[in-house]
Symmetry: C2
Subunit: 328 residues, 2 copies
């Protein structure tokens, strides 16, 4: 296992301290936890709390700061944060205006957040949630619903901007849900990541294979096939998205997210085709984000997200943000 870590024992804590040390002006670590909290909390706005497993860096901590999250609660590698940690995050950033939890749609995340929210409510904290389920590759899986993927950061961006304007809890929740409604993501993977605790790859793929629709933790996708070129891969992915949601005559933001082991170069090559193909479908690209935003350690592959923007969402997307990763 070729990883520049110091062993699996304290990995999550070391990541958190590394993030907090990098941007002390923006965020701080909550003592006795791996929770990252925004510096200069505002007492008169809705606070946003997001959590997910570790291993997806720079998520969740990279999005803490002005205009996005107030607290990021990471779990162990590829595990949901625990209810007590989520509760700790909620309590730390709670305000009179309330707390909105942003949850990615995995069974563990949903259960743990629900438990934490119930406990918070019992303590008199106004708390609401929005569930992000942007993965079109799991649309047929009725039992768990669609998974949450990288698109969650676009929801956090617009909801964070809305909260910064002083909108009330239900108003911020509405914006987050409206954004999530017009959000779709699909991923592709060609190389697994290695789980630090056991040194094993998180899935197996043949020497020349790739899998479209694979999840951030190696969950099964919808098509395992021989490696395709960038153009054909992106076309298959976009077709899955466009089958699920009609973006015709819409303006969208495109997010091309590397999973951690994919060269940035390839994301740009993919983007060239994405723009060409969307133009052919009459879809207008308002802005494009390219980089490693929500990763799976060194997994090879990427995801494509589209989020519909109306005039209000466009203003929120463009609004000032000051986080380690997103700045406007």
């Amino acid at each position: 296992m070729k990883k520049f870590i110091n062993g699996p024992e304290n990995l999550e804590a070391e990541i958190t301290r590394g993030m907090a040390l990098a941007k002390p002006g923006l965020l701080r670590q909550l003592p006795g936890s791996n929770i990252l909290v925004r510096q200069k909390l505002k007492k008169d706005k809705v606070s946003l709390v997001f959590g997910c497993g570790s291993g997806h860096e720079p998520a969740p901590g990279g999005y803490v700061g002005f205009g996005m999250l107030d607290a990021a609660v990471p779990g162990k590698i590829f595990s949901s944060p625990t209810p007590d940690m989520i509760l700790k995050g909620i309590k730390e950033v709670q305000t009179e205006a309330g707390v909105l939890c942003i949850i990615v749609n995995y069974t563990g995340d949903v259960l743990n957040f629900r438990m934490a929210m119930e406990m918070a409510q019992m303590e008199g904290i106004a708390v609401e949630s929005v569930i992000v389920a942007d993965d079109v590759a799991t649309q047929k899986n009725k039992s768990v619903g669609q998974r949450g993927l990288a698109g969650v950061l676009l929801v956090a961006k617009v909801a964070g901007a809305e909260a910064e304007m002083g909108t009330d809890l239900y108003g911020v929740k509405d914006v987050a849900q409206w954004a999530a409604l017009g959000l779709r993501t699909v991923g592709v993977a060609c190389r697994p990541c290695v789980i630090p605790s056991d040194g094993e790859p998180c899935f197996e793929l043949g020497e020349t294979e790739m899998e479209i629709g694979m999840g951030l933790h190696g969950e099964p996708g919808v098509m395992r096939c021989p490696m395709m070129n960038a153009r054909d891969t992106a076309r298959q992915m976009l077709d899955l998205i466009l089958l699920d949601c009609n973006y015709e005559n819409s303006e969208v933001v495109v997010l091309i997210n590397g999973l951690g082991g994919t060269p940035i170069m390839e994301l740009y090559v993919v983007n060239e085709f994405v723009h060409q193909y969307l133009a052919e479908q009459g879809i207008v690209v308002y802005d494009t984000m390219i980089g490693n935003f929500v990763t799976s350690m060194e997994m090879g592959g990427f995801s494509i997200s589209l989020m519909r923007l109306d005039r209000h969402l466009k203003a929120l997307y463009d609004a000032k943000a000051e986080t380690p990763v997103i700045r406007r």
Copy 2:
């Protein structure tokens, strides 16, 4: 070869178009070339031109925009841009105030930039250059001198901010040289990248080996050894830097740069130790940049750079920038 590309033939052009399409408000592609030029060129300031091989994305194009580069001239994969392309870039962005070329210290880059600059001077363009040679792992190699590594983007940041203030050509050059004087970088690699044209890895390393001091194209380093943990690796790297340059009682910016195939998680783990170790040496960290800034496709590994900041460089480092990758 598991790469999401469309073949090696038009790769550089596809990368360039992908970059231009992602941020049309910031940059545009110069027709008939892969040169990326800043939108809204300013006629009354020194222009900055930087070039390097393709394969290092988001460099060079990711740094074009307000407060940094005016033109980015990429070569073929891992090859210097040609003199005629560099000249084309210089001519496109030339102003009355002149042009400063930022050159990474490789034989081909230096030769080709010198040729282009001579041709530009013959056409009456005022052009100067600064050579960035931040790699301490080649300090003993007197024939070629130290190589240029990821630190070049910090030089571009401060020189770009100085140019934006309307400073004259020699003033901008002085700032760039002053910044480069206090800049040191060292890299480490544990996995090669694969060259798209022949599908071959750019170097070979044993199953459990890493190499400290390896260059961005797989050039030999100073120490090949069994994989070390993050802490020991970073300590070895920082010792090489601190042996070459005395940062005691200085304020520095730290740049921890992933080479493309290294999880962001590991960069944060490295950062935790870097901060601890620098504090022990009496070195004050002013800011930390962590991410994939100057890559080598999917190479595994990272580099650490330190750049000394005095009061003036600090202001320039903090100054407004609006490029695809760096925003302030």
